[in-house]
């Protein structure tokens, strides 16, 4: 019999209260319990970044985080990022630059790129390459993704 945990946290600005099994991952909680399917399950071991979310303002792989550890924390998923001004700008830049092919890595990249731009407004290409090291894309070859993030970063710097 596995233990359950009562947790309370903020998710995309809304207070949530939940009981979760102790061994559940944050990714599973988001997708299966809360129906937020934007955050993707791919490698399940922190290599690919498809499950990237913001936790207390910094990105983490939600597949590596126990749901119980969400207690008291502030979570933002791609759904929350997409609703922000920067999220809209990133989405437009991804579309304009053709940075989406199969689309599976896109939510993780959107979240990581938003964190990167918040940390380094006007980030140059080297900073962007370094910032998205933890996100794998098997379609685009990254060029168009880097261009899209660069465009959004430049726009943010001129705000």
């Amino acid at each position: 019999m596995s233990a359950n945990c009562e947790i309370e946290f903020t998710l995309n600005g809304v207070r949530r209260r939940l009981t979760v099994p102790a061994q559940m991952s944050t990714l599973e909680m988001l997708r299966e319990r809360l129906g937020l399917r934007g955050t993707k399950y791919a490698c399940g071991e922190g290599e690919c970044g498809a499950c990237t979310i913001l936790v207390d303002g910094a990105t983490q792989n939600s597949c590596l985080m126990f749901a119980a550890d969400c207690d008291g924390r502030d979570l933002v998923t791609v759904e929350g990022v997409a609703a922000s001004g920067l999220g809209e700008r990133l989405r437009d830049a991804f579309v304009a630059n053709g940075a989406v092919q199969c689309g599976f890595c896109t939510p993780g990249l959107m979240v990581q790129a938003s964190h990167l731009i918040e940390q380094h407004p006007g980030a140059d290409e080297a900073t962007i390459r370094r910032g998205i090291e933890g996100n794998l894309c098997r379609c685009t070859g990254y060029r168009k993704i880097i261009d899209a993030i660069h465009e959004a970063a430049k726009a943010k710097a001129h705000e």
């Binding site: 019999m1 596995s2 233990a3 945990c5 102790a22 061994q23 991952s25 399940g44 071991e45 922190g46 290599e47 970044g49 990237t52 936790v55 910094a58 990105t59 983490q60 792989n61 597949c63 590596l64 985080m65 126990f66 119980a68 550890d69 207690d71 008291g72 990581q112 964190h115 990167l116 910032g131 090291e133 933890g134 996100n135």
Partner: protein, 288 residues
């Protein structure tokens, strides 16, 4: 993942040590090792999962009387943001800069990397070269006690340490290196990010009147534990970092490492890497 019978999230070191004293506990911090290892069946979780992330005493980076104390919960991102770490114990800072990805650096803790005790653990090699100590907390007879173990004696095998099941790693203590000490960390992997080291090297020394003094060398991924390379150090100590000295150091290094062949590299390739990259790192140190 096997079932967890009880989940605990203590708020003080005393409470955490008490939980450890009374049961079979898996300690959880950043989760970046515990979660994938438990999912893959490489780690069998104990009945109690104890999340120590809310224990305030386990955080913070501070220097006092020539010793830097780094709380076990300090993340790689926090280490990278610390001017004290960057300027005074740069070898550790360089290793954090080569650590995994941004997402993992934001979650992974120094204490977790040390307790995971991988022979290839990125921070372990500079910590050995920096002569770091593990500060372990426990409550053997109802009172909180601390013991210090030099990291050179802490790693006892792959994934095994001198930490007892009733002990919690509270902090890493690093004596500040002497004035003029310069060090270089080198990690070889197939790509810059998210790779387990094929080999890693932390090398440092002072340069006095053209010769190397206080030489410290440590290697990762070439033995069952990360290792301090005493014979390599002896080959360099008191000598000018010229070609003959570097060649002698490379030969000494090759004689004291015990690399294996695995999916990342053959033992032959690891030996070549250690020989050549040690020479490169020490020639850089000699010029710093």
């Amino acid at each position: 993942m096997n079932p967890i019978e009880s989940y605990r999230a203590p708020r003080s070191l005393d409470e955490a040590a008490e939980i450890l004293r009374t049961g079979n506990v898996t300690v959880l911090a950043g989760g970046t090792d515990v979660m994938p290892q438990a999912n893959a069946g490489r780690l069998r979780l104990q009945p109690v999962l104890m999340n120590v992330r809310r224990v305030a005493e386990l955080g913070g980076i501070a220097e006092e009387a020539g010793v830097v104390r780094i709380g076990a919960l300090t993340t790689m991102t926090e280490l990278l943001a610390s001017a004290l770490v960057r300027e005074r114990i740069g070898l550790l800072w360089q290793a954090c800069d080569h650590f995994a990805s941004d997402q993992i650096r934001n979650a992974a803790t120094l204490g977790g990397n040390v307790c995971n005790a991988s022979p290839a653990g990125d921070t372990l090699v500079p910590l050995l070269a920096l002569e770091a100590r593990a500060l372990l907390a426990s409550k053997p007879d109802g009172r909180l006690e601390m013991r210090r173990v030099p990291l050179e004696q802490f790693f006892t095998g792959p994934g095994r340490t001198a930490r007892k099941a009733s002990e919690l790693l509270a902090a890493i203590e690093i004596p500040l290196p002497p004035e003029g000490f310069a060090g270089e960390f080198y990690k070889h992997g197939a790509r810059p990010a998210l790779d387990i080291a094929t080999i890693s090297i932390a090398a440092g020394a002072r340069r006095e009147a053209g010769v190397l003094r206080g030489v410290r060398v440590a290697f990762g991924a070439v033995a069952p534990t990360p290792m301090r390379a005493r014979r390599t150090e002896a080959a360099l100590e008191g000598r000018a970092p010229d070609a003959a000295t570097l060649e002698a150091a490379a030969a000494a290094a090759e004689a004291e490492i015990h690399p294996i062949s695995d999916v990342r590299a053959s033992d032959w390739y690891r030996r070549e890497l250690v020989r050549n990259m040690l020479k490169r790192a020490m020639s850089h140190v000699g010029k710093l």
